[in-house]
């Protein structure tokens, strides 16, 4: 076996949300299309089809701006349920080739195919097979990069996008990296790139040619990391058990909201959805953080750590509500968000306490939690079978906004925090 042969794959779906929409509604095919919040209000583009990208539309752009750039732009509200379903199928394809799959998001993953060669052929053959299987099973197009390391594989999948397939052999790494702008290096953001440019570093080659100590002095630990990457050195393994550190949802309102009732409804919706996701992933969380952005973009967070980790919506909501009480009610809010961190596996042993903070109150709480805990699996089963909105808190009924297709600006987007940088 050739030790130098590339064995890391990076698979990235092309314009994922937009492609799912096109697939499910053939009348949209080929049209400039974005998935995101509406142009009126403060919608933002979550995903733009390639037809739309030709007009200069890109992700994270305000929908209003996208509509100005691209007359006739079709704007579709996101439906995460369908994206999640497609994502599951894609991940299944990955896992049918190798157990070493590290998902980065719904539509993107690293794969390590070391040791799978006898079963499925070399990394290049496996890459081709995965691309083919995904298209066959989901009707969606993936771009694949095959390389000796994560960093280079991720670059490779991007090079020939859309519908890309790019293999970078170990002895080609230098050649491919050298001319790329330095900001293509993972970890080099806007600010670092500017600082590098001031030092006369524009391309990856410029950075690689610099003395390591010099880069280290200038950028500290980040310096060592980006200098290594510039040399194509990336020792990170594909980690299939990467743990999520937090999960969160947030929403920008079409218009600033002062009404506490309305804010509480959002929090209830987030709490229920986050709790569902926790249970679905076999996790529970202990720390609840509320994020509030005022009309003037001033942003504050309020945090509370529970005595016990939980995956119950009402418990998260009760905490979120208290946290909202600590946010000044005088100014209207532009955005509200909820995060649960301190996540642990449900099988993590839990040390019980001798003395509750308030034993009586806790017992009452526990009895209620106990009933909710018992009910949750059955409700979740219904949600999985008939859709996420099948069971909802009564107080959210008639208030339109649900997690699925709701047309609200910058639809709540579940984000997975990461324990290790990708």
């Amino acid at each position: 076996m050739d030790a130098e042969a590339p064995r890391i794959l990076h698979v990235d779906m092309d314009a994922f949300y937009a492609s799912v929409e096109e697939r499910d509604d053939p009348s949209l095919a080929g049209k400039p299309l974005v998935v995101g919040g509406p142009a009126e209000g403060r919608g933002v583009v979550s995903s733009a089809s390639y037809a739309a990208r030709e007009f200069g539309v890109h992700n994270a752009m305000p929908t209003a701006q996208a509509a100005r750039l691209c007359p006739g732009l079709v704007v579709v509200a996101p439906d995460f349920e369908r994206y999640t379903a497609a994502s599951r199928e894609i991940m299944q394809v990955f896992r049918s080739y190798t157990p070493l799959v590290e998902p980065l998001s719904l539509d993107e993953a690293f794969l390590d195919v070391t040791g799978c060669e006898r079963l499925f052929g070399d990394a290049v053959e496996i890459g081709r097979a995965i691309k083919r299987d995904i298209l066959k099973r989901t009707g969606l197009v993936a771009s694949v990069g095959v390389a000796p390391s994560k960093f280079v594989a991720k670059l490779a999948s991007d090079l020939d996008k859309p519908d890309g397939f790019r293999v970078i052999q170990a002895d080609e790494v230098r050649e491919v990296l050298d001319p790329l702008p330095v900001r293509k290096i993972f970890g080099v953001g806007e600010r670092t790139a500017k600082r590098l440019e001031r030092l006369g570093v524009h391309t990856v080659r410029d950075l690689a040619d610099r003395d390591r100590d010099e880069v280290l002095r200038e950028f500290g630990a980040t310096g060592a990391w980006i200098h290594d990457l510039a040399h194509g050195i990336d020792p990170r393994r594909v980690n299939p058990r990467r743990e999520e550190r937090s999960i969160s949802m947030e929403r920008t309102f079409p218009e600033d909201v002062r009404d506490r009732e309305e804010l509480r409804r959002r929090l209830l919706e987030f709490a229920e959805e986050l709790a569902y996701r926790l249970r679905d992933a076999g996790l529970r969380g202990r720390t609840v953080t509320l994020k509030a952005r005022f009309w003037n973009f001033k942003t504050i967070t309020r945090t509370h750590t529970l005595d016990f980790p939980t995956s119950l919506g009402p418990r998260l909501y009760a905490t979120a509500r208290e946290l909202l009480g600590r946010v000044p009610a005088t100014e209207p809010l532009r955005l509200i968000g909820l995060q649960v961190s301190g996540l642990q596996d449900v099988h993590t042993p839990l040390q019980n306490e001798l003395f509750g903070v308030d034993a009586g109150a806790r017992q009452a709480g526990d009895a209620r939690d106990e009933r909710l805990r018992k009910a949750a699996p059955a409700l979740d089963e219904l949600r999985r079978k008939y859709g996420r909105d099948t069971v909802r808190p009564a107080s959210l009924l008639g208030h339109g906004a649900s997690v699925g297709r709701d047309g609200a600006a910058e639809a709540p987007r579940p984000e997975l925090g990461e324990a290790s940088g990708a």
Binding site: H347, P349, L350, Q351, E353, L354, F355
Partner: protein, 368 residues
């Protein structure tokens, strides 16, 4: 001031004082030892304002009574490294000279008025007990006191007098140790206030009890506990704050009870605990008719099982504990046969480790 001392006796006293003296303090004067020479005695005094000690050095000859305050650490180090049998202290005019044979050092003294006042042991109302009784109770309980931040009132040992017994209680909220021993009260009044002594104070008390058969005296005061031995008086400021109502969590009626050899049980728990993780340590005990199965598991490492014979009354049941907690208690068991009683896997387990020694451990819930 001028005093002649036996070097070994002096070293012993300085070592005790240095166990109190803070390494760093916003009040620099506390890093000193205060030496008080009276007609026939030399006393060493040290404090960090939470605990304080007066230590009387034996075998001294006072030539000139007086008081001097010098750096505690340096003095101990110098005296320890001397080789002569006797040491002379002579303080005058802002300096203190320590001489032994041909070796000498001169230290700058601190104004004695700056040194905090340390109380004297009040004999009135104090009670007498054997030193060994006191240290035994501390050993059986203090390990269970809280160490992490918060839980202020749990950072010490609660001392109660109850039914002609001296009782000590410590807990960190997850386990609770209660030990008591009969003492002769001879009419001494029980303390009026809850007496919670910080763990550091308890350690110092035990440190000055050198002979377990010696009688010591305890004085309960409003905000401190004093203990007097032959050589030393130690005072510990009490923790204020409310100690949890511990008696409510000691199980009264239990359905399951097992008896086992304590050492044997401890060995088996250690054995299976070897595979448990560092963060979430848990060992599950499953009992049925005369058999105990122990099971340890860690997601990353694997699992381990062990078996042993026990006396058991109750239905088949299991309960999981942090193995470190259980071992902490078993190490101090007073008798060979220990008893574990519990109702179910989510309620406290009660270990009886001796005649007046109960240790309650909250279980760990697994797989919920």
């Amino acid at each position: 001031m001028k005093v002649l001392c036996n070097r070994e006796r002096l070293r012993e006293g300085l070592a005790v004082v240095n166990s109190v003296v803070p390494a760093k303090s916003p009040k620099p004067v506390l890093s000193n030892v205060c030496m008080v020479a009276t007609d026939d005695a030399l006393e060493l005094v040290g404090t960090d304002l939470e605990v304080a000690v007066r230590y009387r050095v034996e075998d001294v000859k006072v030539e000139d009574p007086g008081t001097t305050v010098i750096p505690a650490r340096v003095t101990l180090d110098f005296v320890r490294d001397l080789s002569g049998e006797t040491v002379e202290f002579a303080a005058a005019g802002g300096n203190c000279t320590i001489t032994s044979g041909g070796d000498a050092c001169e230290l700058v003294t601190v104004d004695a008025d700056e040194f905090p006042v340390v109380s004297r042991f009040g004999e009135d109302g104090s009670l007498s007990l054997q030193g060994g009784t006191f240290t035994k109770l501390v050993e059986r309980t203090a390990f269970a006191a809280a160490r992490e931040q918060g839980r202020y009132a749990m950072h010490g040992v609660l001392i109660e007098i109850d039914d002609d017994k001296l009782k000590m209680v410590a807990t960190d909220g997850r386990r609770l140790a209660v030990a008591s021993a009969p003492i002769d009260l001879s009419g001494a009044p029980a303390p009026e206030h809850a007496t919670i002594v910080p763990t550091k104070g308890m350690q110092l008390f035990c440190r000055v009890i050198t002979d377990p058969l010696d009688q010591v005296r305890l004085a309960f005061e409003e905000n401190q506990l004093g203990l007097r031995t032959r050589n030393a008086e130690v005072f510990a400021r009490l923790l204020d704050g409310e100690f949890p109502r511990y008696s409510a969590v000691i199980p009264k009626e239990v359905g399951n009870a097992l008896e086992a050899d304590g050492d044997h049980l401890q060995r088996k728990i250690r054995l299976v605990a070897n595979v448990t993780g560092d963060e979430a340590r848990a060992v599950r005990l499953s009992v049925k008719k005369g058999k105990l199965e122990l099971f340890g598991q860690s997601a990353g490492r694997g699992e381990a099982t062990a078996h042993m014979d026990v006396e058991y009354k109750g239905r088949s049941a299991d309960i999981a504990f942090n193995p470190d907690y259980v071992v902490d208690g078993l190490k101090n068991a007073e008798r060979e046969l220990v008893r574990l009683e519990f109702n179910d896997k989510s309620s406290p387990g009660k270990f009886t480790l001796g005649e007046d020694y109960v240790y309650v451990v909250m279980p760990i819930t697994m797989d919920v």
